[in-house]
């Protein structure tokens, strides 16, 4: 009898890839690449029936949501952005701890009068009356931004989709404020941006996420136990 192998998505490059490889090696389930070193397929050794797909970190959440992979290591920020809170079919099984970073709301330092989200709501309304347009928020986290702003009653804004160098958008005149990910905050400070007092949307780190229905699967259980020991 053959069992359908599970597919585990692992980031294909960068710090997340290296940290994932180290962790799985430490857990006694080293990732083995199939074919040449540049290939995008692999498997876990030490447990049968788990294939590895090397994907860009941003694709992993979407592929998990669409059922194209069964498990995946990715940033919690990307997972929460791609998968709505109402979707209960996907679960964070383990917070892996590496890749810590916060998704934050940051405003120009020159906005001396804005400390918190409640200020932002007032500014948004006054800005609209004074300038006839909405304040613009540059971000790649469209859904996280909408949910956070809605939870704080802020509605009078527009999102400007920004996939790179978001922190430069206010200085470039492309946006007024930003929602972005930051580790030390030094890039924000260098760009004369300040995080709001209640502006931390998410304290993110790398997570192992999976389809909830797979939790009882024996292979998954073996993997989770090994990871728990290694962490």
């Amino acid at each position: 009898m053959t069992v359908t192998p599970l597919t585990l998505g692992i980031p294909s490059k960068g710090r997340l890839m290296e940290a994932s490889a180290e962790l799985y090696a430490k857990a006694g389930l080293p990732i083995e690449r199939i074919g040449n070193d540049r290939g995008y397929r692999g498997r876990l050794t030490g447990v049968d029936g788990i294939d590895v797909a090397f994907l860009s970190a941003s694709e992993i959440a979407g592929q998990l949501r669409d059922g194209k992979i069964h498990l995946g290591v990715t940033g919690e920020d990307l997972l929460r952005e791609k998968i709505p809170p109402t979707d209960e079919s996907i679960d964070v099984a383990v917070r892996l701890g590496f890749g810590p970073a916060n998704v934050v709301v940051a405003v120009p330092e020159c906005w001396l009068d804005v400390a918190a989200m409640a200020d932002l709501d007032e500014v948004a309304e006054q800005f609209y009356r004074a300038h006839g347009r909405r304040i613009r928020v540059a971000t790649k986290y469209i859904h996280l931004t909408r949910r956070w702003f809605a939870a704080h009653g802020v509605t009078g804004y527009r999102i400007v989709d920004s996939s790179g160098a978001t922190e430069g958008a206010p200085a470039a005149g492309l946006a007024d404020i930003i929602v972005d990910i930051t580790t030390t905050g030094s890039t924000l400070a260098a760009n004369h941006l300040r995080i709001l007092d209640d502006g931390v949307i998410l304290q993110s780190c790398a997570v192992l996420a999976l389809k909830r229905e797979l939790l009882p699967d024996l292979r998954v259980q073996v993997m989770l136990k090994a990871l728990a020991k290694a962490l």
């Binding site: 020159c110 409640a118 609209y128 509605t155 527009r158 005149g173």
Partner: protein, 379 residues
Amino acid sequence: MAGRSSAEREALARQNAAIMAVFERAGFDHIAPDIIQPADIFLERSGEDIRARTFVFSDPDGNELCLRPDLTVPACRYHLSHAADATAESRYCYLGTAFRFPDELLSPQEFNQAGIEWFGDHNPVQAEARVMKLAIAALEAAGLSGLKITMGDLGLFNALIDAMAMPERWRRRLKHQFWRPQAFRSLLDRFARPSTQKRTAISSHVDAIAGQDAEAAVAARLAALDFPHVTDRGVAEIAARLSEKLADRSEAPLDPAMVKLIEAYLAIEGSVTDVVADLAKLPSSPALDGARRWFEARIAALEDQGLNPRRFHFSANFGRELEYYTGLVFQIEVEARNAPLVVAGGGRYNDLLHDLGAPSRVSAVGCAIHTERVKAVLS
């Protein structure tokens, strides 16, 4: 299910023809507003929350367009482009598809709205009563009975706030937050205890402008801190808000009796004719007396239309989710399988035409019927 069979299509068309006949017989001009609209108008007016529910796309030049999420704004745009005088009285009706991403309630992403919009009305309470009458008559013509009508009145709330002793900036903020019950609550608490506010990241900037010309102080502070000035927010705008924060520090707290009064008002509900007695207990002021007279005149106008307002429900809280209304708001529900279903809603929105480009404020009142919901209740 994808699409409608010929029988389903015909049944819906028959029902909607009965609805439209009521509007047309009442003298409303049957127009066909555009389906594709410039996205900016919807997004700039309502902000990002409506964008999350609206189908937005780009034309080959990169301009953002959308499929209309409702027909009120498209009807306004029709009026502004066709009427020789945008402020002249005009009465329109329409039947057309609106498009929204389904929400958690699994509503369909395309559905047909039948509605009326009455612009530049001269006798406000009569126009409001007439619109309610026509909405009810249209639903009954479609075959519905047992309609449950709920009304609210933002004019009363605004008049109540205007009648209270507090700084104008507090009034503005309370009216702005009326739509968001939680934020409204925390604002009230803040005004009731202004001196107990915690220091924040910007408190030192507020300190710095005390006793100074605020604008000059802000400019000097930005230079001293080496904060470059970016975005279109001017130094004057930043200074004005810091000055308000400074003034808030020494402002007398909102009288606890006023807080109680606002709470008491928001708790008012009951039969439209019964709440007149509750409203009479609110204090007297020119604005509030005017709003009360208006409320009572509307009851009389509803009776003139042959309606029985004794059976309509009033709730001071109602309308707190619907942003663009400025006075009367109402909705009509019917008992469906196990829960009431909203089949129509409407109200007064006197700011919208001006926001969309009319040369001055134009009074406006209207309503829209969710025709698929009517069909669902009937079948």
